[in-house]
């Protein structure tokens, strides 16, 4: 009876327990059949196992909005890098004879009040926006991972002090401070990045901290410690890689908010310096001519809106793919 190679044909094997042995004895022998090799092999894993990242990618790939977002960003990025090389115009080349022209075959998005080609300016704006988005996310990833990782891993008094600092920082209205710092640092891409690096890491740090706290008591950490790994090694080789999914999700959402902040600052006139163009500057510059040349505002506004949509879709898709627990 205990031989696992036999199964009773009349049952799926779900409710066969030892106390049923008497009933079993009543079953005629011919109702039992020997399992064939195929059934036995069904226990073995036939497909190669998928890693966490392969699994996430296959989930991400099935999300149409996320894939559309990804393709859109790739197209915009390629256009932003390659486009200006093939254009006859430059972002600061003025053409007095062609001021305030509507969209045409020569000037796809028209020209502004200095006769500059708005399409090329929008492409440069894309370069600036994407650079700032990615750079800001990268800087804040590094700061957030180090700060949150140390705070969560060491715990105790260190954690207490570090988190009190976060409690205080989180109350500082960040946009106000970024504006202030921009006033003092000057209108360059570097100063925008510095200003954003002061507060944006807080969300990442908190998230990393809570991840590290949940992971640090698991067996693989104990095993690492038993084999003599240093604290630094445990934190950066074991704990952080294991919480990479949620970290990436948080950081992805930093990209659109950094792009928004830059455009907002440029719109207020403290972002990117003239004659360089950012999407925020382009929309701002178009306001005085809104009644006569509305296209000057429409194209940059569309460009930034489409980019923000795409990035938010990618973020949502990554969240569902990398951190399925968060899916509502």
């Amino acid at each position: 009876m205990t031989n696992m190679n036999y199964a009773w044909k009349g049952s799926e094997g779900a409710n066969l327990r030892g106390d049923r042995e008497q009933e079993w004895a009543d079953i005629p022998d011919e109702d039992f059949a020997r399992l064939d090799a195929g059934t036995m092999q069904s226990e073995t894993i036939s497909r190669p196992s998928k890693s966490y990242w392969q699994d996430a990618w296959s989930r991400f790939r099935k999300d149409p909005l996320a894939m559309i977002g990804l393709c859109t960003i790739v197209v915009i990025a390629v256009a932003a890098i390659v486009g200006p090389l093939f254009s006859a115009y430059t972002y600061d080349g003025q053409d007095i004879a062609n001021q305030n022209q509507g969209p045409s075959a020569e000037h796809w998005f028209g020209t502004d009040k200095f006769g500059r080609d708005i399409f090329v300016r929008a492409l440069y704006g894309a370069q600036i926006s994407l650079t700032i988005g990615v750079a800001a996310a990268a800087i804040n990833l590094v700061i957030g991972v180090i700060y949150g990782g140390i705070s969560g891993y060491l715990g105790g008094k260190v954690d207490m002090v570090m988190m009190r600092i976060v409690d205080i920082m989180i109350g500082v209205p960040e946009l106000l401070y970024i504006i202030l710092l921009m006033m003092f640092l000057g209108n360059t891409i570097e100063s925008i990045l510095i200003a954003m690096s002061l507060t944006y890491w807080i969300g990442t740090a908190r998230m990393v901290r809570s991840q590290v706290i949940t992971l640090k008591h698991q067996e693989f950490v104990l095993a690492a410690r038993a084999t003599g790994s240093s604290n630094m090694r445990i934190l950066f080789k074991h704990l952080i890689p294991n919480s990479m999914g949620p970290i990436i999700v948080t950081v992805t959402f930093l990209v659109p908010s950094a792009i928004f902040t830059e455009a907002f600052l440029s719109f207020l006139g403290i972002g990117i310096q003239v004659p360089m163009a950012s999407w925020g500057t382009l929309v701002n510059d178009a306001i005085p001519t809104l009644f006569t040349q509305p296209y000057q505002m429409l194209f940059p506004a569309l460009a930034i809106s489409i980019t923000m949509f795409a990035l938010n879709f990618i973020g949502d898709g990554l969240r569902d793919a990398l951190d399925p627990r968060l899916k509502k």
């Binding site: 205080i168 106000l176 907002f264 505002m297 506004a301 809106s305």
Partner: protein, 308 residues
């Protein structure tokens, strides 16, 4: 809970100190500002005299810092570099009531519309009404507020010629600025409300209410809403901050004489002292709002984890 409130109180006080300290040291870093060497100063003589008097520029830094703290504690936020006869307090008493009026209307609109969209979306889950509100919410979250404001201006004032674009003289003047301010918050509140409502509608007590034969509208608006509304409270703090920074855009685009416009004018005039004074004011306002919201939340929701 008392412990939590005390803790939040001290954190808020410390945040205020950080804010004031940063502004003080930025004031010292201003190129051509009050604290830079005499040959770089490009400020009018009357302003210089005021600053000498106010900050005691010959005193050591620590004394100046204490003086600065004292003057802020007394509610004195400084004066303008550019218009030496105007103080920041005057700017605020002139501009803040205007901004507050528009802001309050925007808060009410954002809460009502956002919550209605969220509730509709939750109770019509999977139907077209859900899709429509969630598409709207995605649009509102993705498109930056300045783009929405300028697009609104273009659509209603330029193309349709329906609404005025300048000033605040009638109720019609409020429509575009309020939409500009409330659009993003509406989207955020709708999403928050939807997920919170869906969560609550799954609870057993809703089933009980239905089983007792309570009419559906009462189940939704009386039983479910009471609990579903709690997460919205947490958004009120960020909402105040969003409206204040949003006012920079909206008041500039629609020429509304509020503090948002003063702030932006200060930026383009490089009027450092006005910007610092307004930053301290707006920053303290946001910190106080956040503190009140946190306390409110702790009172409303007993389940809130004090220790985090």
């Amino acid at each position: 809970m008392a412990g939590y409130i005390v803790k939040r109180f001290f954190a808020s006080i410390l945040t205020m100190f950080v804010l004031i300290t940063i502004t003080f040291f930025l004031m010292h870093a201003v190129p051509g500002g009050p604290f830079s060497p005499a040959e770089e100063r490009k400020v009018p003589k009357s302003v210089m005299e005021k600053m000498e008097e106010k900050f005691g520029l010959n005193e050591p830094l620590s004394v100046q810092y204490v003086n600065y703290l004292k003057s802020i504690a007394q509610g004195d936020l400084g004066f303008s570099f550019k218009q030496s006869d105007v103080t920041v307090n005057e700017l605020i008493s002139r501009g803040f009531p205007v901004s507050a009026k528009v802001g309050l209307v925007a808060i009410v609109v954002a809460l009502i519309v956002g919550m209605l969209l969220g509730i509709t979306s939750a109770i019509k889950r999977g139907k077209w009404a859900d899709w429509a509100s969630m598409i709207f919410a995605t649009v509102g979250i993705s498109i930056p507020n300045f783009v929405i404001t300028v697009l609104m201006l273009f659509l209603f004032a330029v193309v349709l010629k329906l609404l005025p674009t300048y000033g605040l003289s009638s109720w019609k003047h409020y429509i575009l600025p309020v939409i500009g301010l409330a659009f993003g918050p509406i989207a955020y509140i709708a999403r928050l409300m939807r997920s919170s409502m869906l969560e609550v509608m799954r609870q057993d007590y809703i089933l009980t209410a239905r089983a007792k034969g309570v009419p559906e509208y009462r189940v939704i608006f009386k039983h479910a809403l009471k609990n579903a509304i709690i997460p919205i409270v947490t958004y009120l703090g960020p909402l105040v901050a969003a409206l204040l920074t949003g006012s920079f855009i909206v008041e500039r685009v629609f020429s509304i004489p509020g503090i948002g416009r003063d702030f932006v004018t200060g930026i383009s005039d490089r009027d450092y002292s006005v910007i610092l004074g307004l930053t301290v004011f707006l920053g303290l306002f946001i910190i106080v709002a956040n503190f009140i919201v946190d306390v409110l939340y702790a009172i409303i929701d007993r389940r809130v984890k004090i220790e985090e």
